[in-house]
Symmetry: none
DNA sequence: TCATAAACGAGACGGTACGTCTCGTCTTGTG
DNA sequence: CACAAGACGAGACGTACCGTCTCGTTTATGA
């Protein structure tokens, strides 16, 4: 992705890289994809336009990398011993992420470009896969405790848990209340208990 | 929304309007929001650029109105006598809409601009409200038949039914299989039967 | 020049014609040729744009006719019995014409388009010829009184009399003082007395 | 006048500047102010439209600078020892300038915009002042030789010498013959000898 | 420590699209 | 059925941003 940055990983190079990626997120948050210009990003990062283009081929690549970097934060997975409470906690965490100005902006950008062959569109699967692997233990523990049917797919459960939250943000543009997060958790749990997520998933 | 079109509703004016709005959807489908230019829309509609600008203030307004017009198609609501089957049908209908090239493109555009104060961002609530009012009878009938708890919110049910489908399209970029639609329907039904959608919604 | 106006010389037709031509001069005075739009002329005349186009083929033709009409005012020729005084009076009259906002604007417009094959460019010779015929008697009387050499060309004299005034307006953009008018008159008189304007002109 | 050109006075920048200014004069000569478009100028200069706009804010400024640059050519002042012959030479030189296609076009453009507050209108005084300083020595020498009255204003003389030539070009649109140039010279000389241009000018 | 190669700052440029303006033609619905 | 009201095609205007390209200047690394 970056040609130059890896040859001289120390000092100015790395500093510049971080500043630019941070500036992208800020611009995205403040003005959105359409209004984001490479020049304004460069200016906010205290760097010249040419420097940005040197390292990232185009706006698409630049934003893609910034989004990927921004999504690398790990979520602290809950482990209360009760799957109902675990799921509620999870939903609340996701809600907080999505309601932050930054989270909302980046999520909207990703959704708007989910189909793009290059750049931002490529980020989604990677990003989502990472998130899923984190949740698996939570589900496995619940199964072991007999709180969920054996064979319950952590993947499916996680998606159905978060889907209503994304739906509110992206589709209906309704406020993401805590009650809505709790409802999503409850709905996902009911479905899981009913065995909807057992066995061969919908692939 | 349009200043001129309503004064002379007949003949050329209306014809032009329809051609342009259709062209917008086609361009959106083929090239996406970022690559959509007013000039290309005009050309596809067989109309001059100025004519487009005369009636729609800017690109944003233009696309917003095209999306609104495109979403006015009514869905044929199922009524099989069995809520499980009704929901499955509904999920399949939505799946077909979202998997059509046009539906996917317009949905992505809407999601990417759900926050915009003007233009496309304004379309979402209107559009979604219209959809919801169509579903209410289906849920009411199920309640009357005793297949769902009294007080079940059609609104909440519908959102949880469709959320996983939008999630696949916008967030994980996974293929929208029929199995995934059926699973979404089953999950929503399980949650509804568990009373998750009863009483005061998550507002 | 005007097809319709002469068929129905009275009533609304003539009134409209006059209003439009007057509006042209006003717009020319206020905003100049470049900023003059047919639409603004029509609006100022209280007439629809189409009406203007119906009667005058284009902007060029329209302005040309307005200028011609505006120049039809006859100058009160001086006759003091002294050619020196007559010429000074004449120079002062021309100065007043050229320093009026309207006169300056129309003159500049004419000068700027003196070369145009159609429209405004055609007006100049006609207009100037009319002016010259008015001066001839003044010169003839001076010759008869023995104040000027026999054979002095009224044409050449008049041109050399007014040339410095136009020069100030169009070329050096200096203020047209009365002193400058008097100087122009004196210079022309000196040249005339020296016989510079006698015999075959410079054709 | 130009923001960028002076920082990097060598190489491409200067080359581009010269090409554009030359193209302006050519377009002005061929098509006149009204038909001159920035795009056609750019194309003729082998440069992109944006490059022109980058350096010159608008059409007015662009043409103004081109005219100023074009007028910087120095006239070879005559010095025959006889003021009559000097003036005749001068008039002929001016005549040649004004009868060239380029000279006529630029002069008409300047005259048509002599009043404009910004751009082309600003060029005139500068341009004319430069011309006058060149003539002063010619007049001074004639005074020294006793061929003209002491105190004769070179400024006034020059203006009255050239005024009839401009008058023919701009006002009467008559052909500028050599005879007319000679007549203008003779008239100016007669007036000068009569002392019309002595002492305090017409301000 | 210091030479040298990498990275950067500065900015002109070609190019695409934007949204605005005016011109002169053409259509339409009303009086 | 004529004509005003006004939509339209055409095209220039001036702006913004994209991504490329010099040409000097700074800065990090390794000899």
């Amino acid at each position: 992705m970056n040609q130059a940055g890896e040859i001289r990983p120390g000092g100015r190079t790395a500093r510049t890289r971080a500043a630019v990626l941070a500036a992208v997120i800020e611009e995205l948050t403040d003005h959105g994809w359409d209004q984001l210009s490479v020049e304004s990003v460069a200016q906010r990062a205290g760097v010249h336009k040419t420097t940005v283009y040197r390292r990232w081929h185009d706006k698409n690549t630049l934003v893609a990398e910034a989004l990927k970097a921004a999504a690398e934060s790990r979520i602290q997975m809950p482990d209360t011993g009760d799957i109902a409470q675990d799921l509620r906690e999870l939903a609340r965490i996701v809600r907080v992420l999505l309601t932050s100005r930054e989270g909302a902006a980046t999520t909207r950008t990703l959704a708007g470009h989910s189909h793009d062959a290059a750049g931002v569109g490529q980020v989604l699967p990677v990003l989502w896969a990472a998130r899923l692997t984190q949740v698996e233990p939570v589900v496995e523990r619940a199964v072991a405790r007999g709180q969920l049917p054996a064979g319950t797919s952590a993947n499916d459960l996680m998606k159905h848990l978060t889907a209503p939250l994304f739906h509110r943000l992206l589709v209906t543009a309704e406020p993401l209340t805590q009650a809505s997060a709790d409802q999503a958790a409850a709905a996902a749990l009911a479905a899981a208990r009913a065995g909807i997520f057992v066995a061969a998933g919908p692939g």
